[in-house]
Amino acid sequence: MTADAPRPRVFIVDDHQLFRSGVRAELGDGVDVVGDADEVGAAVELITERRPDVVLVDVHMPDGGGRAVIESVAAVDPDIRFLAISVSDAAEDVISVIRAGARGYVTKTISGPELADAIRRVAEGDAVFSPRLAGFVLDAFAGAEAPVVDPELDQLTNREREVLRLIARGYAYKEIARQLEISVKTVETHVSAVLRKLQLSSRHELTRWAADRRLT
């Protein structure tokens, strides 16, 4: 990235001190960390006060976890964007923070530069899907069991499926664009569309399917 691009202002919410300081160090100069908090109440207060571009929020915390932070902040200031981060990849947890409003999900094993890149992407309004999240979403929309109420929201287009498959195979957006011979912007549009479906679809199976992944 170029040096004169504005650095995204980031706020970190995690109940582990070790992790917060670790992330600050890893992110380095690429982003501007404007604060952190270790519990839901203080986080909501500070975030609405400092208005960061992106909140990096831990999925698992006492008092409702990342979900509670996202919902409380969104009620006051819907412009603030969230990137969920977690050590677990239990599908229910991931899907539930995404549905609460997070624009992406990454695991804590992510490297510093990758995390900075994900934050930048979320700050620009895009969605960040890890390969695992892409897998979850493909699984969620694959089942024929759930009734399709609203085809606009309850089904993925073939192109969206293709993009998700490539993400699950470990392709970066740029590589996906080259593979499908489309622009990076178009890839981002597809992913954002999938995110929107994931958040708004009324497929009631969405949160439940992951626990008992079907055996075809």
Binding site: P131, D139, R165, R169, Y171
Partner: protein, 417 residues
């Protein structure tokens, strides 16, 4: 679990000389007192029973003695599989005819005694007998619930008696005892005195209940609290045992190998995998291995051997058969190649089952190679991957170019029933 000994384990080490008196569970008519005594004294249980029956008519001694044994002697815990002092075939469950014979015998003796001078009087004996039957019913219930607890803690639960039957039996016992008390009072003092006496008793009982009520309530609550606490402690112990066996051991190993980053990474990764599968492992259907499970297992193996992080994403799943086993083996080979030659620390694997189509991708962002110039001795690619897939009715495509990483794509059509 090393310290999860059942409280009954001590019986297994009990030597034959320190046999304890138990109430028998399989040789019993009422509560197993006679059967247990007979076994303990190496006598025939019938003789013991007759002795008790005779003792009943010596001022009711037999009755009191039996009740005392019932109350004091514990029931034999489930002894399935334990070496018994006597062969099991000698034991038999008392059948209905035994019970009837005993009842008829007892009835005969009662009538006989009634003719003699020892008879205490109708007005006393019959109510007492009714009371005895009621009490026996209630105590019997207590025995069953104890046995159930044992069974539940030992192994598969016994066939549960419906709660309705239990309640009905309990109510029956209480009614019988109450009736006998009323009967006794009426026959001794006449109706009016009996009513007055009963009212007094009711008043006393109600008063007692009011006074001690809160205390009973607390007792029950404390008991529940204690049980909950015990369960929680047990869960905590299990968690502690697991963490001790896995995480703490690994942390100790890591501290010892702090100077070898690759080894530390391998240990940390293996531990993470183990903990992850323990915490939210995908429940495997009994015995049947699945494609996704097998690929994950192969990835774990390769990770462990080559200190590379392999991330497996699976969409859909299918039971493993011969064809899919070939897919797993080819995928494993692709992972090994990526781990060995790509020179990166991250390999991405994607498994998808869609209807009868199975696709696996193994991708790295490493150095890559030119497939056209690959040496013949790199047999891994041509033989283990492409050849194996072709032999099993599938196909493999290897895409790679120097500097752009490698991706192996495996395709297979699944045999569906």
């Amino acid at each position: 679990m090393p310290f999860g000994r059942s409280p009954w384990d001590h019986r297994r080490t009990l030597s034959p000389t320190e046999r304890r008196l138990y109430r028998s569970t399989d040789d019993r008519i009422l509560a197993g007192v006679c059967g247990g005594l007979a076994e303990h004294l190496s006598l025939d249980s019938r003789a013991v029973r007759i002795a008790f029956a005779v003792l009943v008519f010596v001022g009711g001694t037999g009755l009191i003695l039996y009740a005392a044994f019932w109350a004091v002697v514990p029931q034999r815990p489930d002894t399935e599989g334990l070496a018994r002092p006597r062969d099991r075939s000698h034991r038999r469950r008392p059948d209905r005819s035994d019970l009837i014979a005993l009842c008829v015998l007892a009835g005969g003796v009662v009538l006989l005694v009634r003719q003699t001078g020892f008879w205490i009087g109708d007005a006393f004996v019959w109510p007492v007998l009714v009371a005895a039957v009621g009490t026996a019913l209630i105590w019997h219930q207590a025995d069953e619930s104890q046995r159930r607890r044992w069974a539940a803690s030992a192994r598969a639960p016994l066939t549960e008696r419906p709660a309705r039957v239990v309640a009905a039996r309990l109510a029956g016992g209480v009614v019988l005892v109450a009736v006998s008390v009323v009967w006794l009072l009426i026959s001794q003092d006449g109706l009016q005195a009996a009513t007055r006496g009963l009212l007094a008793v009711f008043a006393a009982v109600a008063g007692l209940a009011l006074i001690t009520g809160p205390w009973w309530w607390r007792l029950v609550r404390d008991l529940n609290d204690e049980r909950r606490e015990r369960i929680r402690a047990q869960e905590k112990a299990e968690l502690a045992a697991h963490l001790h066996d896995s995480v703490l051991q690994t942390l100790a190993l890591i501290q010892g190998k702090a100077s070898q980053p690759r080894e530390v990474q391998r240990l940390a990764r293996a531990q993470e995998r183990e903990l992850r599968s323990w915490l939210f492992g995908r429940p495997q259907p009994d015995g049947t291995q699945t494609l996704a499970g097998a690929v994950e297992a192969a990835a774990a193996e390769v990770e462990d051997m080559h200190v590379t992080s392999i991330d497996v994403v699976a969409v859909g799943d299918a039971p493993l058969d011969e064809r899919l086993s070939a897919v797993v083996a080819a995928a494993r080979e692709a992972m090994v190649n990526a781990a060995k030659f790509a020179g990166v620390e991250q390999v991405q694997v994607f498994v998808e089952v869609e209807g009868d189509r199975v696709t696996v991708f193994v991708r790295d962002r490493g150095v890559g190679f030119d497939p056209a110039t690959v040496d013949n001795d790199r047999r891994g690619v041509s033989e283990s991957i492409v050849g194996r897939m072709a032999r099993n009715g599938g196909a493999a495509v290897v895409r790679s170019s120097p500097g752009n990483g490698t991706e192996v794509e495996l395709n297979m059509t699944r045999v569906t029933q």
